[in-house]
Each structure stands twice: as C-alpha cells, then as structure tokens.
C-alpha cells in the first residue's frame, strides 16, 4: 500500500490508477487501498503547507482522489468513513462575486485536516447562508470574495447573523487576497485569511 500512498504524494497519476486497478483485481482489501489514498492526500497537504506544492498539485490530487474512489467504491462493503469529523464548516463566495478557486482550495485543505466542509458555491445570497447556518450548524463560516463588491455582502451576513441571534453560535472567517484588518473590522468578522493554511490553524484553535 505504500506504493499507492507514494504515487499519490508524488503526483504520479497514471501509476496510481494502474496500481489501483491491479490491487483491486488481485483482491486486495479495498478499505486498505482507500486508506492509502488518504495517507497520500495527507502528505500532499503537508507538502502544500511546506510550500513545496501549489495550486496545480492540490487540484490534481483532488482529481486523482475522485478517480481512485470511483474505482474503489464498488468493491467497498458497508461503511467506509474514516471516523467523525472534528467540526463542521460552511463556505461560500458571497453575493455579487463568482470567484471560486481560493474558496475551493481552502475547502479541500480543511477537509484534509479532518473537517466536514459544506460548500454553498458562488454568488450565494445572504439569506441562503443564514438558513444553512441554522440547518447545518457549523462551527465556522468561511466567506470568500475577491471583488470590492464583496465587502458589503460580507457585512450583511454578519449583520443578519446578529439579527437572527446566531452570531455567538458561529465564528466568521473572511477569505480573499484583498481582505485585511480594515475589512475584518468593517465586516465585524472574527478572523481573515489570505491563504488556505490560516483557516486550518484557526479551526484547530477552536476545537
């Protein structure tokens, strides 16, 4: 199984999928194969954190994980989950903005770190976010946006959380390369992040 983990960690896509086919055909334990994939993903996360891997590796790792899981899943019997999540996180790009890359990377990194992430997508209306906070009960909401047009919708989310009496139940994180302490204060959020690792560090401090 080390070969699977190494192929994932080293971005050897063809080798990884060929090995997966071979192991499954040989009757090896599918759960062990999936665990090896996850160990590979953890290594990818570490290399990203270390500044060795960047966006292309995270995206390719995600693609490899999906392709591998599709092969493995039919062989799995019963529960394949790897234990309960540490906490729930809701992420969305706010109304008026459609940038998704940063938000999605942040989501992937938080999932790799053991959190359950619900991604509401882009140009998400404030009312939808508030509804999801009620239903999904996240520990953290990550609001993303790159445009100056995103600042006021971010503020609207925090204001409406207050109105709905939900503000104390959830932490609010702002993400995007244009976010800084001025916008943090303006919006009334708890923390901001310009990179995907800050989210995880912050989440780990909460749980």
């Amino acid at each position: 199984m080390d070969k699977i983990t190494a192929a994932m960690a080293d971005m050897l896509e063809d080798e990884l999928l060929a090995l997966t086919d071979k192991y499954l055909a040989d009757g090896k334990d599918p759960k062990a194969i999936l665990d090896a994939y996850q160990a590979g993903m953890t290594e990818v996360g570490k290399r990203y954190e270390a500044g060795e891997y960047f966006v292309s590796e995270l995206i390719l790792a995600g693609e490899m994980m999906t392709a591998g899981s599709d092969k493995i899943k039919p062989f799995l019997k019963g529960d394949s989950s790897s234990g309960p999540a540490k906490a729930r996180v809701l992420i969305a790009t706010v109304e008026g903005d459609i940038h998704d890359i940063g938000k999605n990377i942040a989501g992937t990194i938080m999932e790799l770190a053991g959190y359950e992430v619900k991604n509401l997508g882009e140009d998400v209306k404030t009312s939808v976010i508030i509804e999801e906070v009620k239903n999904f009960k996240p520990k953290l909401i990550g609001l993303s946006g790159l445009l100056t047009l995103a600042y006021d919708p971010m503020k609207a989310v925090v204001d409406q959380l207050k109105e709905a009496g939900l503000r104390d139940s959830v932490k609010v994180l702002l993400g995007g390369s244009q976010i800084d302490e001025h916008i943090l204060k303006y919006v009334g959020a708890d923390v901001f992040a310009n990179d995907a690792m800050t989210n995880v560090t912050y989440l780990n401090s909460l749980v």
Binding site: V55, S56, E57, I59, L60, G96, T148, L149, K185, Y186
Partner: protein, 439 residues
C-alpha cells in the same frame, strides 16, 4: 543600429507632441506636463515635478457620477459624457477607458459568450461585467493545432465557440490552402454555404455597430487629448501563460495541464509569445502612446511553485517584455495580488524599461529591492478605500510618499482595480497625492 533607448525616445517625443490641435496653449502645456511627469517616473533619470497619479479603475466613473455600469455600457453618448466629466473633475494624470469599450449592444449582437454583463446571467444592473472562465480550448490535443497555426485555430475553432453568431466559421476553409488552381474551387465553395454566409453577414452588422460606438469613443479620446489629458496606455498584452490559463483554458484545467500537458503548453507559448509582442506594438504604433498595459494573473504568489514559475511563466513573460522594450515600448505590468515571492525577477529587465503596477506587495520592501531599477505604481488598498476614512487614506498615502517617492520612479495609484467605490475616498487619495507628492 538604433538602440531600444533611441527607439523609445522617438516614441516619447511623438507621445509628447501628438499631431493634434490642442484647445489652447494652456491645454498643450497641461498635456505635456502630465505626459512628461509619467515619462520622468518611468525613466528613472530625474525626479518629475511631483509624483504622478495614475488611474486604475473600470466603472468607477459611472458609480462616482451617479449612474450604473449597465447604463454606460448601453449608451455611448452617456458613457463618453460621464468619462469626460469624471476625468476633468478628478485630476488623475492620465485616464483609463476600459469601462467604455465594452458595449452591451455589440456583445448582444455577437452572442458573445466570454462575458456576462449587467442584465444577463443574473448579473445585477449596478454590477460590472463578469468574465466566464471555460475550457474554450476543449481538448489537450488542440494545443497542437494552436501551435501549428494559431490564426486557423482561432478562426475555425475558438471564435465560433465564443461568438454564437459566428458558428458558421467552423465550415470555413483553411486560408493557407488558397493558392494554386487545384485548390481554387475547394477553397471558395464553403463561402457559398448558408451558415457561412449568415455568419459573415452578421459579422458585418456587428462591425458597423462597433464602428459607430468606437467612433464616439475615439472622438472623446481625441477631445480629451486636445483638452490636456493623456490616455493611460496605448497597447495591451498578456503573459503567454495567462493567455492559456485565463483566456483559453479554465484555471482548473490549466493547472492540471501544468502536470499533464506541460510540453504542449510550452510549445503553444512559443507560438503565442511573438503574437503578444506583435499585438502590443501594432497598438502603440497606432495610438502613439508607448505604454502597454499588461494585467498579470497566474504568476502571482500562491498559484505556482517557484519551479513552475521559472519554467512556464517568467521566461515567456520576460520575452514579451523584451520584445516590447526592443521596439521602444514600455510594458506596464499589473502585478495583481501579491508578488512577494517574485521580487528578484523584476531586476532582470534593463533599468527604467518597465513600470510595475503593484497591488498587495509591500511597497517599501519593493522600493529597496527593485526601486533602483524600475518604476513602481501603487498601491492604496481597496480595503482602506472601502472601509476607512479620508484621514486613513491620507495616512497611507503619506507613508507611501515617504517610503517610495524618494529618488523618483513612483506613481500613486489604487492597488486594486477600482470597480465601485466612495468618491470622497478617491478624491482624498488624489488630494493627498498632490499634498505630499511634490519633489
């Protein structure tokens, strides 16, 4: 042999002395004062009289004067009135025109699929346009088609995909086959096809519509120059990797291609690099303004590893810079986002040859590391402009002037492209620039 410095001096002379009837001796002096200020900041030979204030906005003039992007994108008369009024009221040393060269009637008539604009696809009337990222280059093997014959790929594959009414172009013949008798009939016959003819007719209609719009924009630009105001740039180019990754492929696919189809990308960029230079030079020849605006994207911090940057981004971008510089033009790259990991590369170009627009990179540190070599433009953050007070803006501008203005080679600008915004904050930036920017 003429050196790049000599070619550039000739372009600067032409830029300073356009063949245009100035409204008055005063407006001529104003125009030459503004252009001269920009040139002094770029060249790093001497301090200008004061720090120039450079524009970096899309639809801010529309918002500032109480209308919407949709309104100015729909009505060229309104658009040119708003722009002229804004430019004369605000006092930047040059003006940007991106907001008035995206006409909704033209985009509609073309069934233009690259963008969504106010009133389409859920974009509100008071919002700006949205770029629609997509894998227009549909399969990796098309990199090879593009590399072999970019115009053919553009015309018969790419254009029919993003312009709904030009779908008939897929049935066009290959133009390099049109030569001797054996190919004569084979080349011409497709032009008789109803789908091809429909597309050609539609293209002529859209052309007329656009010419009318651009006639008004051109007249406005001419009038503003006569009245003393220079446009902020005369040409446009992109980093070859950005053409692959924001123009032809979605970000996600381009990032996967880095790993899966790297050699194909490199070959395609070999083809695209001289084309980027050609596009820039043709535009500055025509406009008489030697500045080439180059918005940069995937080379910023965080997207690529240093190794990827050195293989897929910088060598090709550097060639575009060198090609523009060699022809006497001035690349004005916009390092949107952060460039902290890329600072050292800015010193690889000749002194005074490139003027960098800076967004989220530490200006004081940049000044220390590259300020002796290139002009820096920036970087009042959108966060302060949005959430701060005019006094906050003044504090930020004063610090910029202390850190970056000494020794010349600095222009004041917003760090982010200003889409919407608070008029009093942009005015505070300009007033602070005038107050603290004197040499």
């Amino acid at each position: 042999m003429t050196t790049w410095q000599e070619k550039r001096q000739a372009r600067f002379d032409k830029w300073l002395n356009p063949d245009i009837p100035f409204t008055s001796p005063q407006t001529k002096a104003d125009y030459q004062g503004r252009v001269g200020r920009l040139i002094d900041a770029i060249e790093l030979k001497k301090n200008p009289d004061r720090v120039p204030i450079y524009p970096n906005y899309t639809y801010f003039p529309a918002y500032a004067l109480g209308t919407t992007p949709k309104a100015v994108m729909s009505d060229v008369k309104l658009a040119t009135e708003i722009w002229e009024k804004f430019i004369k009221e605000y006092g930047f040393d040059a003006f940007g025109i991106i907001g008035i060269v995206a006409p909704i009637p033209v985009m509609q008539a073309l069934d233009y699929k690259l963008y969504q604009w106010p009133g389409t696809g859920g974009v509100p009337d008071d919002s700006i346009y949205r770029y629609f990222e997509h894998d227009w280059l549909e399969a990796a093997k098309e990199y090879d088609d593009l590399t072999l014959d970019p115009t053919d790929w553009w015309m018969r594959q790419y254009i029919p995909r993003f312009c709904g009414v030009l779908k008939g172009f897929t049935q066009l013949p290959n133009f390099t086959e049109f030569m001797e008798l054996p190919n004569l009939a084979g080349f011409l016959a497709p032009f008789g096809l109803p789908e091809v003819q429909a597309s050609l007719k539609k293209l002529m209609e859209v052309g007329s519509l656009t010419l009318e719009w651009m006639g008004s924009v051109g007249a406005m630009i001419g009038k503003l120059i006569c009245d003393g105001y220079p446009p902020s740039a005369g040409g446009f180019a992109k980093a070859p990797f950005d053409t692959l990754s924001d123009t032809l492929r979605s970000m996600k696919t381009a990032m996967l291609d880095l790993r899966r189809n790297g050699d194909r990308m490199l070959a395609a960029m070999e083809t695209l690099t001289p084309l980027a230079i050609k596009m820039a030079i043709e535009a500055i020849d025509k406009s008489g303004n030697p500045l080439v605006f180059m918005p940069l994207h995937k080379g910023a911090d965080g997207f690529m590893s240093q190794a990827q940057f050195e293989k897929f981004y910088w060598p090709q971008l550097k060639k575009v810079f060198e090609g523009i510089i060699e022809a006497g033009g001035v690349p004005v790259p916009f390092a949107e986002g952060g460039y902290s990991q890329r600072m050292e590369y800015l010193n690889e170009l000749p002194k005074g040859s490139v003027a960098w627009m800076i967004d989220r990179t530490d200006m004081a540190e940049l000044k220390k590391k590259v300020g002796h070599n290139c002009c820096l433009i920036g970087n009042v953050p959108s966060s302060i402009l949005h959430a701060g007070t005019p006094a906050d803006v003044e504090v930020y501008v004063k610090k910029l002037m202390d850190d970056v203005a000494p020794g010349g080679g600095f222009m004041l600008a917003t760090g982010t492209v200003t889409d919407d915004g608070r008029p009093e904050m942009i005015k505070a930036m300009i007033q602070s620039g005038l107050k603290y920017g004197k040499y």
